[in-house]
Amino acid sequence: GESVGLHLPTLSVQEGDNSIINCAYSNSASDYFIWYKQESGKGPQFIIDIRSNMDKRQGQRVTVLLNKTVKHLSLQIAATQPGDSAVYFCAEIAGANSKLTFGKGITLSVRP
């Protein structure tokens, strides 16, 4: 069936290092991908998105890479800070204004 999944359940990084969170998806019809951050007790918060016709998009300290050949999505966080500690979800959309299909979350833990 269609699914979006994450390779690793947890990731621990040293403050100041770069973080890379990976995600695999299986719905080739998805045309839009998003990374969300969820802090404890809060709803998912949009981080960055990318359309299927792009392979890279940069934001402030974050970069999303999309490899449609292998159906792989990654989130890179530069100079990881304690405030980046959270659960990160990748999600996909197939069609405008459609539902989000979330992958399993990965916990990012930043060591001081």
Binding site: K42, G43, F46, F89, I93, K99, L100, F102
Partner: protein
């Protein structure tokens, strides 16, 4: 900055009781969604709503669930007869015309005893 709000933050109910979860989407948004997240699991889509009708619903959204936009601001999710397995965080989200970003509320934690 405008945000989605949800009430209550925590709802405890007995199995078989009806609950109504309330959401106030961002004021100029037109697309509305409910998602749920069972503890420790991924966020799951329940239903989407546009132009006063359901656009799409998941298998989870059975006859026990209903949504309503009773006025110009509120968007509600009703569960008619709650089951133990309905215990979860319920998130409302809204989206404007521009872009595909869905803005999420803080969630309502539903506990069914």
């Amino acid at each position: 900055e405008p945000e989605v709000t949800q009430t209550p933050s925590h709802q405890v109910t007995q199995m078989g009781q009806e609950v109504i979860l309330r959401c106030v989407p961002i004021s100029n948004h037109l697309y509305f969604y409910w998602y749920r997240q069972i503890l420790g699991q991924k966020v799951e889509f329940l239903v989407s709503f546009y132009n006063n009708e359901i656009s799409e619903k998941s298998e989870i959204f059975d006859d026990q669930f209903s949504v309503e936009r009773p006025d110009g601001s509120n968007f509600t999710l009703k569960i008619r007869s709650t089951k133990l397995e309905d215990s979860a965080m319920y998130f409302c989200a809204s989206q404007g015309l521009a872009g595909n970003e869905q803005f999420f509320g803080p969630g309502t934690r539903l506990t069914v005893l």
